[in-house]
């Protein structure tokens, strides 16, 4: 995996991926920042180079890479790095960070579908009017038509003890997984939710509020 951009996001992303056992290389072009990253991630994990330069990507093995994540603070650099990965080198998955939300349409116009837009994430939370702690948006696919959210079932939730098939869930909604302690359960209709369960659900944006009410009683 190749991560372009060694700022806070790039650093934490690389650290997390490496700790999960993935082979990951972080590219950072600023020499001072690179030195810090080397000290904190190890010299094998970081390289001082411009990840939006095709010869650099070629040199670090982009043709073998399964993922390229462009998370620099410059939208145009992220776009070009992603495009080089996807269109020029055939990288199976590319992810681009959008700094200025105004540029999101440009990312999509130029063929980058997997996007990280933290401003949009926060905006979503605020717009939906749900408490920050209750519904956590995880991923939006297909221009936001499909949303994955995470909810933690509180004590006193109307859903506790009821089988999933008996819950009043909104349409276009599926409970994809229940995380109970350190177990992941792919639920069937007979499974029942318990307090403190973490529920991963797939739904449409319009139904997030109703899902919230069904599971959290808000």
């Amino acid at each position: 995996m190749i991560v372009v951009g060694g700022g806070k996001i790039g650093y934490h992303l690389t650290k997390a991926l490496a700790e999960s056992g993935h082979e990951v290389l972080l590219l950072e072009k600023d020499p001072v920042r690179h030195r810090w990253l080397e000290e904190n991630l190890g010299a094998e994990a970081v390289m001082q180079a411009d990840g939006s330069d095709p010869s650099v990507l070629e040199k670090v093995g982009i043709r073998r890479a399964s993922v390229l994540a462009a998370v620099t603070g410059s939208d145009e650099d992220n776009i070009i790095a992603c495009q080089l990965g996807k269109q020029f080198f055939g990288t199976p998955r590319v992810v681009g960070r959008v700094n200025n939300p105004k540029n999101e349409p440009t990312f999509r116009l130029l063929g980058i579908r997997s996007i990280i837009n933290s401003t949009a994430l926060v905006y979503h939370l605020v717009e939906q009017g749900v408490g920050v702690a209750s519904v956590i948006p995880l991923l939006a696919l297909r221009e936001g038509a499909v949303e994955f959210v995470e909810l933690i079932i509180p004590a006193g939730s109307p859903a506790v003890g009821k089988q999933l098939k008996d819950l009043a869930l909104p349409t276009e909604t599926l409970i994809v997984a229940i995380i109970r302690g350190d177990r992941m359960i792919v639920p069937g209709g007979q499974d029942a939710l318990r307090e403190d369960d973490s529920v991963i659900a797939m739904t449409s944006p319009q139904n997030v509020q109703k899902l919230n009410e069904s599971l959290l009683g808000a």
């Binding site: 330069d53 939208d75 776009i79 070009i80 440009t106 116009l109 130029l110």
Partner: protein
């Protein structure tokens, strides 16, 4: 002929003035408000203050109605993104881009952009000067 130039660089200024003097309708996009001053008041060149990857700015500059779009900022990636927007969103027939990094030329050409690389041209010129005439000038 209608032209949008992104980047009020030295080349941008000279090109804008040149084209305007020949009767073209030219608009220059640049984030610096003093661009109009750089262009001079003696030729009819419009300016729009903003960055060349902002869809609204390009719309305002009339990118949807021009025959030629030239990306001339000093940042290759900015030029490539701006040029692609011109080609894909605004369907500009002729999109020209200046790229300093010769390694980006194949990609730029793959995108259908007319690509000019000063690094290659300058090197070619100097090599010619050193080795004397006789070699074919490449400069692309």
């Amino acid at each position: 002929m209608r032209v949008v130039i992104v980047g009020c660089s030295r080349v941008g200024v000279m090109l804008a003035r040149d084209l305007a003097a020949k009767g073209a309708s030219v608009t220059v996009v640049d984030p610096r408000p003093e661009s109009q001053h750089l262009l001079g008041r003696d030729v009819p060149v419009q300016t729009v203050v903003g960055t060349g990857i902002d869809l609204d700015v390009l719309e305002k500059a009339g990118a949807g109605e021009v025959e030629v779009f030239v990306a001339l900022t000093d940042r290759d990636n900015l030029n490539l993104v701006s040029a692609q927007i011109a080609k894909q969103k605004f369907q500009v027939p002729k999109v020209i881009v200046r790229i300093y990094n010769p390694e980006l030329r194949p990609f730029s050409e793959q995108l259908g952009l007319e690509t000019y690389c000063p690094t290659v041209c300058t090197t070619d010129f100097i090599s010619q000067q050193i080795s004397g005439p006789g070699g074919a000038p490449s400069c692309t």
